[in-house]
């Protein structure tokens, strides 16, 4: 009797323990943060991707040159770390590049590659267009979130950025890409639930091996003709966008991905 009681107790505590461990999202309240994400965006673009205005560029280039000259004269080589912005998330490749450049700083001719970022002609090589897209896109996104602070969609956005394996910029790049491919059918009712969830299985290069509409049954329900049209348009968008802009690393995290298509905001706006 006592033995089984002990077993039972032990088992239950493990269960509770495991539940707490593995299902934390059930306990956690949705994080109620103000919907401002621009700060994190600056973080992403540690290299300034936005092309300067011609005048500003000259000034910035000059000040950069001056600064560097000053740095060279005042400080010794170990400036590598000091140069980095504190809020930067260092990617392994970038770190190496930076170091190389800084090591050669003594030679004034070698400074050029870094300055080159801001030259419009060279921009294509250095600037990651994905990030620009993400930036532009984010700016629009902000407007929307400002308008509708209480909107559920924005909340889930926040949740995503914390819970998923994609960084904000990666998520935004993907989102921006799909925005461009998705022709939203205009004959949709305003007051119905318009959420279409699509689960994708992806290859490493971003091509789709399998796509599945999660609320498949709803498509054939009477009075839900619009839903079928909407779901099909979403599927079409995903197929048109192939290969999707996925990050180069972390395949295991995003080999399965769920896209939630919801045009409600757009139709009402």
């Amino acid at each position: 009797m006592t033995r089984s009681l002990i077993y039972s107790l032990a088992f239950h505590t493990t269960m509770i323990f495991l539940t707490i461990l593995s299902l934390p999202f059930m306990l956690r309240e949705p994080i109620d943060l103000p919907p401002i994400v621009s700060v994190e965006l600056i973080q992403i673009s540690d290299k300034t991707n936005i092309p300067y205005a011609p005048k500003a560029r000259k000034i910035i280039e000059e000040t950069k040159k001056k600064e560097k000259e000053r740095l060279v004269s005042e400080q010794a080589p170990p400036t590598a770390k000091a140069k980095e912005k504190p809020d930067k998330i260092p990617l392994p490749n970038e770190q190496k590049e930076e170091k190389k450049i800084i090591k050669k700083k003594q030679n004034p001719e070698e400074i050029k590659p870094e300055i080159r970022q801001s030259s419009e002609f060279e921009k294509k090589e250095i600037v990651d267009t994905n990030q620009i897209a993400a930036l532009i896109d984010k700016a629009k996104e902000e407007e929307v979130t400002k308008q509708k602070k209480t909107n559920k969609i924005t909340q889930s956005n926040q949740k995503n950025s914390f819970a998923t394996g994609l960084t904000l910029s990666e998520e935004d790049a993907l989102r921006a890409q799909i925005f461009g491919c998705w022709s939203v059918p205009l004959g949709l009712p305003y007051d119905e639930d318009l959420l279409v969830r699509i689960k994708l299985n992806l290859k490493k290069d971003g091509t789709i091996t399998k796509s599945e509409i999660l609320d498949h049954q709803r498509m054939n329900r009477p009075g839900q003709k619009f839903y079928k049209v909407l779901a099909e348009s979403a599927l079409r968008a995903v197929r048109l966008c192939q290969p999707l802009k996925v990050p180069p690393t972390g395949y295991d995290k995003w080999k399965e991905i769920q896209l939630n298509f919801n045009p409600t905001e757009m139709l009402k706006g």
């Binding site: 003709k225 099909e232 197929r239 399965e256 769920q258 939630n260």
Partner: protein, 445 residues
Amino acid sequence: MKKTILIVLLNFLLINKSYSLIEVDITRGNLDPLPIAVSPLHVDINSERYKDLKIKELGNNISKIIEHNFRSTGLFNPLKKEAFVQKPDIAHLKPRFEDWRLIKAQALVTGKILIKNEKLKVEFRLWDLAAGKEMTALAFTTTPSNWRRVAHIISDKIYERLTGENGYFDTRIIYVAESGPKSQRVKKLAIMDQDGAKTKYLTLGNELVLTPRFNPTNQMVTYMSYFRNMPRVYLLDIETGTQEVVGNFPGMTFAPRFSPDGKKIVMSFAKDGNSDIFTMNLETRVVERITDHSSIDTSPSFSPDGKFIAFNSDRSGLQQIYVMRSDGSGVKRITFGNGIYGTPVWSPRGDLIAFTKMRKGKFYIGVMRTDGTGERLLTENFYQEAPSWSPNGRVIVFYRETKAGLKGEGFSAKLWSIDITGYNERQLKTETDASDPSWSSLLSK
């Protein structure tokens, strides 16, 4: 024991994993017109001759009408035929999707026609090029002279499949055709297909005609015409051409409009300088008073469920729009904006009311919700009015008067259409000047 614990543990790990699926919210897309390829319909070689119909060109002509319909919606972008890579007959059997995707098409329409025993058989397929599959396929049989309607019906079916909304192409518009100088204007009742083809004049122009309105359930029209300088309300059956006067009232009757079931007419009726709203049962000819107020109540329009009537009235001073129950109770003012509001028309979907607004010498066509909120002015001009809804409630047709001639001495009235989003404003082609349009319901349901 260990095993069970292990299984339980594994289970939890798996559950945890499945919940960490990356989710990305897509809340916006583009509103660019959908690129669609309409391949000319393949004409079967076994087709027989039919009167003076040019069979060889029929396939191409039908596809042109479909393209024209699509372009007029502003929602589709029909691609140029020169870019097409596959011949119509092969494309209809099994299109090479890669080839069509190359020209950036997202949907493809193919078809086949056959005329045999004086019957025209038209078959079409709609292909989703991204998915590489057929979305819909239908065949129609009719008399060959009906080929234009077949093209419109095909357009409706495709529109329906791609937008989730009913089409409005297989419809007609009745309007007042105008000609001559302003002081001696000749006004005739005219009807045409929604794309401007097949215009037919229904009256001779001896008497002035005004405000024709379609019965939402059939091809019956009510309109106003002057008889010995007295306006009367008439009923006209378009199919048979029979015409009758709706009752004989001592005063003047105005702005007649059908109820959604087509069994009643609602109109305003003036006596001693005061006008009120009445309904008349077309079967029993019983007239019922709806409003009884010392102000001028006009332009009544039923809601599609028949439970409410919107009308305009100057009971608060300036003319504004009011809504009441169809028995006249519960009158509620819904417009409070600056300016004068008039000609309310309830959308066939029931969600919006279209109206004309006059403010500071300008005329606006707008829409608002049925409680008066969410007012959106779609278009502005010096003179425009009389909005009428397409049967799916997406497009509004109205007429606009503009100055004509080099010095602006004359004037011209034309029909225009606009999407309820405020985009895609277009002039409809009419043979003469035109005013007071009314859009029919779908000819085939």
